[in-house]
């Protein structure tokens, strides 16, 4: 615990000392949470930028997973050695926004640095999550994804299912046919709170919380125990008994169920595409939109994003921020974005990058990769489908996870579980409101 903060502080001090007079170029520290192949891609982007000019140098530093990266950056800020740029996941957004003295809003930094910046070039459904009430972009979108449905085409053929399911009753029918054909389970899901509560709500134009899902203020309260939510979660709990649905863990631990052909359908991030492609060895797979209930809300509306954005922290010289601004321009150029999008399965953050990818024929060669974009941009977002902005949401997601697990296990009914999650979540919202001074 303590040693971690100390280490971060030492690391930051050494990095700063190292970046001292020896280098002519202005150095910008970029703390990120992308491991493995994605991490290599991040390094490639930074190297591309460094090679493109000689005045500035961006140094990417891997800081562990999302929570570790955010915690490290906050600890470094408290120790007065913050990185310039830090990658923060979407559920940390409210915490970052509330930290007014700690962050340097991106729109303001771009203006101060005299860098050309057109917020209209970015996909509204992506930036909507990260803009303040006046429409200003506070952070730079980097890796955004949205949940989609992956299905086992080979299994579908064997079970005599001709079409990918569009609605939940169709999912149930497909699952039962697959089970009759010998597959033990119908479908599973990753990130249950994100997919089955947050995106379920946006997709059906239902609110997760009051005050426009928290966008309009911190005195918000949760509403995800409505009759429609209870119906959906109750149905999943019912399906858990017959393994039409089978729960497999809070994050992406359920993936092996799909890879191993235990479950024939799998709901998870569009960015799981590369993983599914690499692991679906013995079968063909397809990608389609998240299923909806035809009789609930005005479904299908649009889904919301997950993933992370780049935040700029205060505490450095104006020259450093100029470098960061130049880097952001490079990062959002159509070429860099299109490459990132095609390589990772994350959404292209600008319209130009989407069009470039389309003109390169990528979507035709890789069917299903554009499902996420269409799902997000199919309709203009409403108050319920713009995104979420709740304080302490990292902890609240864990509460939702806990209550959902109790529902799947049958120890609580859907109504009880969701009521408890809302009550416990509201308590944390009040705490956040008090801590940040409303």
């Amino acid at each position: 615990m303590k040693p971690k903060i100390l280490l971060t502080a030492i690391g930051a001090t050494m990095a700063i000392a190292h970046a001292g007079p020896a280098l002519a170029a202005t150095e910008v520290q970029w703390w990120h949470a992308m491991g493995g192949k994605l991490g290599e891609k991040v390094v490639e982007i930074a190297e591309g930028f460094n090679a493109s000019q000689s005045d500035y140098k961006v140094t990417p530093v891997y800081k562990g997973n999302y929570t570790e990266t955010m915690t490290a950056a906050i600890a470094a800020f408290r120790a007065k050695q913050p990185p310039h740029i830090v990658q923060v996941f979407e559920v940390g957004t409210a915490s970052m926004m509330a930290a007014k003295g700690a962050i340097y809003p991106v729109y303001q930094m771009m203006a101060d640095a005299g860098e050309a910046f057109d917020p209209g070039a970015y996909l509204a459904s992506v930036t909507g999550y990260y803009t303040d009430t006046d429409g200003n972009m506070l952070s730079m979108p980097f890796n955004s994804s949205t949940p989609v449905l992956y299905y086992n085409k080979t299994a579908f053929e064997k079970a005599g299912i001709s079409e990918a399911p569009k609605t939940w009753p169709e999912v149930e029918a497909a699952a039962m046919k697959a089970q009759a054909a010998g597959y033990p389970c119908g479908f599973t899901t990753g990130w249950q709170s994100w997919v089955q509560i947050e995106n379920f709500s946006a997709w059906h134009n239902l609110s997760v919380g009051t005050m426009a899902n928290g966008f309009a203020g911190t005195d918000t309260e949760f509403t995800f125990n409505s009759a429609d939510h209870v119906k959906h979660i109750g149905q999943l709990a019912e399906w858990q008994k017959s393994k039409v649905f089978d729960y497999g863990g809070r994050r992406s631990e359920s993936a092996p169920k799909f890879y191993g052909q235990e479950c024939v359908m799998y709901m998870n991030s569009s960015a799981a595409y590369a993983g599914v492609k690499a692991n679906a060895k013995d079968f063909e797979f397809g990608v389609t939109a998240l299923p909806h209930w035809a009789d609930v809300g005005s479904a299908p509306q649009n889904t919301i994003i997950g993933g992370a954005t780049l935040w700029v922290l205060q505490g450095h010289d104006a020259e450093d921020y100029k470098a960061a601004a130049k880097f952001f321009s490079y990062l959002s150029s159509a070429e860099v974005q299109a490459d990132w999008h095609q390589f990772t399965g994350y959404l292209p953050i600008t319209t130009a990058a989407y069009e470039l990818t389309a003109s390169q024929g990528f979507y035709e060669k890789n069917p299903g990769t554009d499902v996420a974009i269409q799902q997000m941009t199919g309709k203009a977002p409403t108050e319920n489908s713009k995104g979420l902005r709740f304080g302490n949401f990292v902890q609240i997601r864990d509460i939702i996870n806990e209550e959902l697990e109790a529902i799947w296990a049958g120890t609580k009914s859907a109504q009880e579980g969701l009521d408890d999650a809302v009550a416990r979540g509201n308590a944390l919202l009040r705490k956040f409101e008090a801590a940040t001074g409303g």
Binding site: M1, K2, K4, T67, M70, T71, I74, F77, R78, S95, A98, A99, K100, G101, A102, Y247, G248, G249, R250, E253, P256, K257, G260, E262, N392, V394, Q395, D398, N401, E402, E403, E405, A406, W408, A409, T411, R424, A427, K431, A434, A435, T436, G437
Partner: protein, 293 residues
């Protein structure tokens, strides 16, 4: 009359105890007092705004039924972890004490797991018991038990207990073995001549003579189970399903370092500290009486 050796001046003794006192101050008293102070604050993650809220954090904790539940879970977890790791280690040590051939290799192998970091140990067990791809889960399924720690709280609890005690067995084993080897052979042999069977010899001679070691290990293991196991829980179950493995120290970790609720987390660590101090005092006061040095 008792002969006492007294330092003639005050300087030297102070110098001699100073390093220990400094270490205690810097690494225990100072952080502990910081935690105590922090537990009275309500602060945002970045430390930009901070309010003194007296005991609000504690009141919030104790009015939360889930927090009270996690006390009971922690007791179950700690007792099972300490019991299992002590029991297995004692058994292995008693066996190792009689091994003549290859004793070093045997000992080395048993000590190995201690070098494994808690998080790594957690991941190891996590994979072995993974309901979809785990070897042991597969074996259990074959034996007719449907293992699923994602849904079944009891399974999850068993998993974290196994992972947590596995690591500790090595440590306990070393101490037990040393303790066993310090017991004079003549006592055991005399008992054998008197006709005492191995189990009787163990229970009436060896175990009482081993009690100082056992007592020391009991204290160490309880402290370990209370404080040092959040890494294992984090890597295996993240406290789930539905809080069934959320023990006190994991909640401290997840609220503080994942949730960034520093005040609430500090309040929990103060409570945890009080619990462990009480337990330790209790152990020294009551259990130690039964220990024969």
């Amino acid at each position: 009359m008792e002969k006492r050796v007294v330092f003639s001046k005050l300087g030297l003794p102070i110098l001699l105890v100073a390093p220990q006192i400094v270490i205690t101050l810097v690494f225990f008293i100072w952080p502990a007092s910081q935690a105590l102070y922090q537990s009275l604050l309500l602060e945002d993650a970045f430390g930009l705004r901070s309010q003194f809220v007296w005991l609000d954090n504690f009141i919030a904790l104790f009015s939360d039924p889930h927090y009270l539940d996690s006390f009971a879970r922690t007791v179950v977890f700690s007792a099972a972890t300490a019991g299992l790791s002590l029991g297995v280690a004692l058994f292995l040590a008693a066996m190792a004490d009689r091994v003549l051939k290859g004793a070093t290799a045997y000992r080395t192998l048993i000590v190995w797991p201690y070098a494994v970091a808690p998080a790594v140990a957690g991941v190891l067990w996590f994979f072995m018991f993974n309901p979809s791809i785990g070897v042991l889960a597969y074996l259990l399924k074959w034996l007719g038990y449907d293992w699923n720690h994602y849904l079944d709280g009891t399974d999850a609890m068993m998993l974290v207990i196994l992972a947590a005690s596995w690591k500790q067995v090595s440590y306990n084993f070393l101490f037990f073995l040393a303790g066993l080897q310090a017991i004079p052979r003549s006592l055991v042999e005399a008992a054998a001549i008197d006709g005492a069977r191995p189990f009787k010899r163990f229970w009436t001679i060896i175990f009482p003579l081993l009690s100082p070691t056992a007592f020391f290990l009991l204290v160490v293991n309880i402290v370990y189970a209370f404080f040092d196991t959040f890494g294992i829980v984090h890597a295996t179950t993240s406290g789930g399903p539905a809080q069934s493995t959320t023990i006190l120290v994991y909640k401290v970790f997840s609220d503080g370092f994942i949730g960034l609720d520093l005040g609430g987390s500090a309040a929990q660590s103060v409570v945890l500290m009080a619990v462990v101090i009480t337990l330790t005092v209790f152990q020294f006061r009551y259990i130690e009486r039964k220990v024969a040095y």
